[in-house]
């Protein structure tokens, strides 16, 4: 009888030790606070893309639309955004020649933080600050590509004037994972293979700069004039 009682006591001690060990392991995993990773290849539902066709800059009445498929962690996209884009904006978007549509195309095998960056920008969009966050993310690419991306994006959200608690909730919900996937699927379907790729009047263009885009757009505008 005594040995049975000892055995039961030992069992409860074992259970207690396991509870402490398991609880400690969970606490260890949680100690860094709420960090997020955005999953790839999620199942896209109709609600993910409802009413959303990319992030748009420029006039609705612009004669030509340029759709850019890009990845925040792609160095060429960063170069395009920081070097070419200010000129394109001044020469074409602000003058009503083109409407710019930005779409996500993550290169998952090379860019581990791409979807996180895309999701952060989408959460910025929720508060009307997509383009502010978009610029900060591209500007900071060399830094966050090395690590600590989630904390840096949060900093950018703060700098952009976002309500950070709403931003945190948005990131933790991973609610735009399906939208990002839908954009990636769409790009793959139309033949996008790398980034940045531009869709202009039904044709895909890779490795083009602002001047070439201007020439293409100019010829399309001239062709549309009676």
């Amino acid at each position: 009888m005594a040995s049975t009682t000892n055995g039961v006591n030992r069992f409860y001690l074992l259970i207690g030790a396991l509870v402490v060990a398991g609880g400690g392991a969970l606490w260890f995993l949680m100690r860094g606070g709420p960090t997020v990773s955005i999953p790839a290849n999620v199942v896209v539902t109709a609600a993910d893309t409802s009413g959303f066709r990319g992030y748009v800059m420029g006039s609705d009445s612009a004669p030509v639309e340029v759709t850019e498929y890009a990845d925040y962690q792609c160095p060429w996209c960063q170069e395009f955004e920081t070097v070419q884009m200010p000129d394109i904006k001044a020469r074409m978007i602000d003058k009503g020649m083109i409407r710019w549509r930005y779409k996500d195309f993550p290169i998952d095998n090379a860019h581990r933080y791409a979807r996180l960056a895309m999701h952060a920008a989408a959460c910025g969009d929720e508060q009307g600050k997509f383009w502010d966050l978009h610029k900060l993310i591209y500007d900071g690419q060399p830094r966050w590509s090395e690590g600590g991306a989630d904390n840096l994006f949060r900093e950018y959200a703060k700098t952009s004037g976002l309500d950070v608690s709403k931003y945190d909730q948005c990131m933790q919900s991973r609610k735009y994972a399906g939208r990002i996937q839908a954009s990636a699927n769409e790009g793959a379907r139309i033949g996008v293979k790398g980034t940045p790729t531009f869709l202009i009047a039904g044709r895909l263009y890779e490795s083009v700069g602002g001047d070439q885009i201007y020439k293409i757009v100019d010829s399309l505008v001239k062709a549309k004039k009676p």
């Binding site: 069992f11 969970l26 960090t35 997020v36 999953p39 199942v43 991973r174």
Partner: protein, 139 residues
């Protein structure tokens, strides 16, 4: 005793997945990323409730009942073992449904969900063995 240990292990797995789901844990130690795909899918909720949370309550219930079944006044009683077999039987059926979703709808296998599936099947098996033992005792 084995059932208690299995339900405790299952409780930790379910808690881990639920803490990830509510954003308290940043990444899942999964290797392939399939766990995140499964967790982000719309099938990670059942009747509006997080599946991981159902797991937490389910395993907690099994743990509680299995601890009760170990008490001296219940140790030779078939009723707690019957309850455990019924509860874990239901959990096994629910697990089969979830595995089918992973295989044929989501097309991603979450390793932690596989661990949970193994634990619940083992738990059910152990309770069935216990029921058989108790039948012999009462006979």
């Amino acid at each position: 005793m084995t059932a208690t240990l299995l339900s405790l292990a299952g409780l930790f797995v379910a808690l881990y997945l639920y803490l990830y789901k509510i954003g308290r844990i940043g990444t899942l130690a999964c290797g392939s990323g399939a766990c995140e795909t499964v967790q982000a899918s719309r099938y990670s909720r059942f009747l509006g409730i997080e599946v991981a949370l159902i797991g937490v309550f389910g395993y907690a219930t099994l743990l509680l009942v299995s601890l009760v079944a170990l008490q001296p006044q219940w140790v030779h009683d078939r009723r707690p073992a019957l309850l455990l077999a019924a509860l874990s039987g239901g959990a096994v059926l629910f697990t089969v449904y979830l595995k089918a979703l992973e295989l044929f709808v989501i097309h991603a296998i979450c390793r932690w969900c596989v661990v949970s599936a193994i634990l619940i099947v083992a738990f059910h098996f152990v309770t069935l063995l216990d029921l058989r033992r108790l039948r012999h005792v009462s006979a």
